[in-house]
């Protein structure tokens, strides 16, 4: 069974704060993704990567940085957090082909005060 873990599961910060969300997958997948989930919008892609050191920009990248340090680890960085970034964040991994399933982590709930 594919495994994607995220930490922390819950995070509270203040406006202007610095936050790092972590994701690790043990599926030996090349591709990893960061999404945010907001009511009425479904999941929206922030950043994604096809391997260590690679980074691609998604549909809602403003205010976010990401870094893929290894095949297993993908980080999402909010360097100056704003209340508009309060959301539920999901990480996912998959193989390269279009029909392949994306496997999701349990999510991180972020509140920016």
């Amino acid at each position: 069974e594919a495994a994607v873990t995220q930490s922390p599961r819950n995070k509270v910060t203040v406006t202007g704060g610095n936050v790092t969300l972590s994701c690790r997958q043990t599926n030996s997948h090349n591709y990893m993704y960061w999404y945010r989930q907001d009511t009425g919008h479904g999941l929206r892609l922030i950043h994604y990567s096809y391997g260590a050191g690679n980074l691609q920009i998604g549909d809602v990248p403003d205010g976010y940085k990401a870094t893929r340090t290894t095949q297993e680890d993908f980080f999402l960085l909010l360097e100056l957090a704003s209340p508009s970034q309060t959301s539920l964040y999901f990480c996912a991994s998959s193989d390269a082909r279009g029909q392949d399933t994306q496997y999701f982590g349990p999510g991180t709930r972020l509140l920016v005060l």
């Binding site: 999404y35 999941l43 390269a96």
Partner: protein, 114 residues
């Protein structure tokens, strides 16, 4: 550009009744399509996926979906709903040429009444 529309934000059905959740997609060519389910306080799990072939796809827990190119639709069905199906359901289309990126609909929240 590819996109997915789920026109029903909320659907309520009685336990044991049949279910259809609607999904319309926009994609140039023949797409790969997915239905994911999100149970309360959990991540998304795959229910079923379609790639070119038989238009009716069987998934887990008695779910199935039918692909229609003429209607640009991929509706999800279940013959008899169980209380454990209470969840949010997402339809998604794959951008096959772009790192397997998925484009999600806004989701349909299913409530099951006793």
């Amino acid at each position: 550009a590819q996109s997915v529309t789920q026109p029903d934000a909320r659907v309520t059905v009685s336990e044991g009744a049949s279910l259809q959740l609607r999904c319309k997609y926009s994609y140039f060519g023949t797409p790969y399509l997915f239905w994911y389910v999100q149970y309360p306080r959990q991540g998304l799990q795959l229910l079923l996926k379609y790639y070119p072939g038989d238009p009716v796809v069987q998934g887990v827990n008695g779910f199935e979906a039918e692909f229609s190119k003429s209607n640009s639709s991929f509706h999800l069905r279940k013959a008899s709903v169980h209380w454990s199906d209470w969840a949010v359901y997402f339809c998604a289309v794959s951008a096959m040429s772009n790192y397997n990126v998925l484009y999600f609909g806004s989701g349909t929240k299913l409530t099951v009444e006793p």
